[in-house]
C-alpha cells in the first residue's frame, strides 16, 4: 500500500488528472460553441442548414466515441495528415479535443433545442413583430431563455464529457485511466487500492459539480 507515497507515482496520478481537466475544459468550450451553432441551424428557416444540423446530430450521437477518437488519429492524422502540433502529446491532445467536441456538440445541440421548445412561441412572435431578424430573435430573445432552462442537462453533459475524456487514452495521451493502467501494471499487489483512488477522484470532483449545476439551474430558472 505504499503505491501513493512514491513521488513518481504521484506525478503519474497528477499529470493524468491534469490532462483530464485540460481535455474537459477545451472540449467543453469547443462543444459549447459548436452545439449552440448546431442548435441555431436546426431551428433556422434555411432547409440546408436544418439538414446539416440534423445530419450532424444523427451521425455523431450514434457513433461510439471510441471510434470517433480512433478515427481522429488514424483518419485525420495518420491518413489525411492533419497535424495539430509538433509535440506528440499536444498533437494527440488536440486530436482528442476535436473528437470529444464533435461528439459532445451533438448532445449540447439537442439539450439547447429542447430548451428552445420551452420558450413560449409568443416570445419569438413578439420579437418578429418589432422587426427583429431571425438571428436577432435567436440571439437576444430565444437563446438566453433557452440556455437558462437547460442548465441542469448541460451539467450532466459536462459530467459525461469529463468521464468520456478518458477515452483519449486510447490514442496515447497519458490521461487518468492510462495512468491507472500504468500503476496497476507496475504494482500488481495493489490493484484494488489504485482503482479506488482513481474512481474516488472522479467521484469527489464530479458529485459537487452535479450539485452545483442543480443549484445554478434553480437560481437561473426563468420565472414564469
Amino acid at each position: 500500500m505504499d503505491v501513493f507515497t512514491d513521488p513518481d507515482n504521484i506525478e503519474t496520478y497528477t499529470t493524468g488528472f491534469l490532462w483530464i481537466l485540460k481535455l474537459t475544459v477545451a472540449a467543453a468550450v469547443g462543444s459549447g460553441v459548436l452545439g449552440v451553432l448546431l442548435a441555431g441551424m436546426r431551428v433556422s428557416p434555411v432547409p440546408v442548414l436544418r439538414a446539416f444540423g440534423t445530419g450532424w446530430v444523427n451521425i455523431f450521437r450514434n457513433t461510439p466515441l471510441t471510434l470517433i477518437i480512433f478515427f481522429c488519429y488514424f483518419g485525420l492524422y495518420s491518413a489525411l495528415g492533419l497535424e495539430l502540433a509538433d509535440d506528440i502529446d499536444l498533437n494527440n491532445f488536440w486530436l482528442g479535443v476535436v473528437g470529444l467536441s464533435v461528439y459532445t456538440a451533438a448532445f449540447v445541440c439537442e439539450a439547447i433545442r429542447s430548451g428552445i421548445n420551452t420558450v413560449p412561441v409568443g416570445q419569438a412572435e413578439a420579437a418578429r413583430a418589432i422587426g427583429m431578424s431571425f438571428l436577432q430573435t435567436l440571439r437576444l430573445i430565444v437563446l438566453p431563455q433557452a440556455g437558462r432552462a437547460v442548465i441542469a442537462p448541460l451539467g450532466s453533459i459536462l459530467i459525461a464529457l469529463c468521464k468520456n475524456s478518458t477515452i483519449v487514452g486510447t490514442i496515447g495521451l497519458m490521461e487518468s485511466s492510462s495512468a491507472m493502467k500504468e500503476l496497476i501494471n507496475a504494482n500488481g499487489d495493489a490493484v484494488i487500492p489504485i482503482f479506488l483512488v482513481f474512481a474516488g477522484t472522479f467521484a469527489v470532483v464530479l458529485i459537487p459539480t452535479g450539485y452545483f449545476f442543480g443549484w445554478l439551474s434553480n437560481r437561473l430558472a426563468v420565472k414564469r
Binding site: 497519458m174 492510462s178 493502467k181
Partner: protein, 284 residues
C-alpha cells in the same frame, strides 16, 4: 404507446443488468480443490489465462487460440493429466492478470507474464519458460540501430506497459506515442507516423512475421532488458508451481518445448532457444 415505451425502458434495464451480471464470472468448481494439481486430477479441466492479440504468442482467431504461450499451456495441461478438450482459454490483458488469478477466474496464466517482485507478492510464478528482452521494430530501411539512436524519434508502445515506462525513464529524448494495443502501434508504424515500435523482442518478431507486413519491418536485435516470462498460479499454490517447474524440466529434455517453439515463433526461422532449467523459480 405508453405501455410499449415502458416495456422498452424495462428491457433496456434488464439488458444492462444482465450485462453487469456477466462480469461477475463464476468460480464454481474451484472451491473444493484450491491448487491446480488437485483441480486437474479431480475435474480434468483447467482454465488458462492467455493473451489474444499477440501473433506468435497468444492470438485469437474466431474461437481458436494459437501461439507459443498456448503450446506451453498445452504442455502444462498434459503434464497435469488434463486432456486437450479440458483446456479452456480465457483472454487476459496485462492489467487483469493478478485479479483473475486471485479470484479464481483462471487457474493458470501463460500470457507474456514477466516475473517481477511486485507481482511475486500476489502470484506464484513457475518458469521462466522464456527470457525475452525489450527491442525495437523498425521499417526495413530505417537507420535506427538501437535505443541510443532514438533521440527525437517517435517510439510507440502500449500505454502503461513496462517497455513504455522504460522509454520514459531511460531514454527521455525519445518521443513516446502510446496506444492501448500493439496492433495500433504497428499500424502507425506502417503509416510512417512513428519511427519505431518497442516491446519484448518475441512479440515484435510475431508482428514482423505477419503476412500483411512481410518484408516491411525488421527487429533491430539489440535487447536492452531481460523479461523472464513466468507461469502464474495462486500465491499459496506452491505445489502447483513446483509441478509446473517439473513439467518444464521434462519438456526441456523430451523435445516438446522445441516442438512448441517450432510450431509457432520458430516459423519465422529463428532457432528454438535453450530452456535453462537452472534458472527456474523456487516457488516460495
Amino acid at each position: 404507446m405508453r405501455i410499449t415505451r415502458m416495456a422498452a425502458i424495462a428491457g433496456a434495464f434488464a439488458l444492462a443488468l444482465s450485462a453487469a451480471a456477466c462480469g461477475g464470472g463464476d468460480d464454481s468448481g474451484s472451491g473444493s480443490a484450491s491448487g491446480i494439481v488437485g483441480k486437474a486430477s479431480s475435474d480434468k479441466k483447467l482454465v488458462f489465462g492467455v493473451k489474444n492479440d499477440q501473433p506468435g504468442l497468444g492470438l485469437q482467431t474466431g474461437t481458436a487460440y494459437t501461439g507459443f504461450d498456448i503450446e506451453i499451456a498445452k504442455i502444462i495441461a498434459k503434464g497435469l493429466g488434463v486432456p486437450e478438450s479440458g483446456i479452456e482459454y480465457k483472454t487476459t490483458v496485462s492489467a487483469n492478470r493478478e485479479p483473475f488469478i486471485q479470484q479464481g477466474q483462471v487457474d493458470v496464466v501463460v500470457a507474456t507474464y514477466t516475473i517481477n517482485d511486485e507481482r511475486k507478492k500476489v502470484v506464484n510464478f513457475g518458469g521462466p519458460y522464456y527470457v525475452a528482452g525489450q527491442d525495437l521494430l523498425v521499417p526495413t530501411a530505417s537507420t535506427i540501430t538501437g535505443p541510443e539512436a532514438l533521440a527525437g524519434k517517435k517510439v510507440c508502445s502500449v500505454s502503461g506497459s513496462t517497455p513504455a515506462k522504460r522509454i520514459q525513464t531511460d531514454y527521455k529524448d525519445a518521443q513516446l506515442q502510446q496506444f492501448d494495443s500493439y496492433s495500433k502501434c504497428v499500424q502507425a508504424l506502417a503509416d510512417g507516423k512513428v519511427d519505431a515500435v518497442t516491446t519484448d523482442d518475441i512479440i515484435l518478431a510475431g508482428y514482423a512475421a505477419q503476412d500483411q507486413y512481410a518484408g516491411k519491418f525488421k527487429v533491430v536485435g539489440k535487447k536492452f532488458s531481460d523479461e523472464p516470462y513466468g507461469i502464474g498460479v495462486k500465491k499459496d499454490d506452491t505445489e502447483g508451481c513446483n509441478k509446473i517447474n517439473e513439467i518444464l524440466k521434462t519438456a526441456a529434455t523430451d523435445g516438446s518445448y522445441k516442438a512448441a517453439w517450432d510450431a509457432t515463433l520458430g516459423k519465422s526461422g529463428t532457432a528454438a532457444p535453450e530452456l535453462d532449467v537452472t534458472k527456474l523459480t523456487n516457488c516460495s
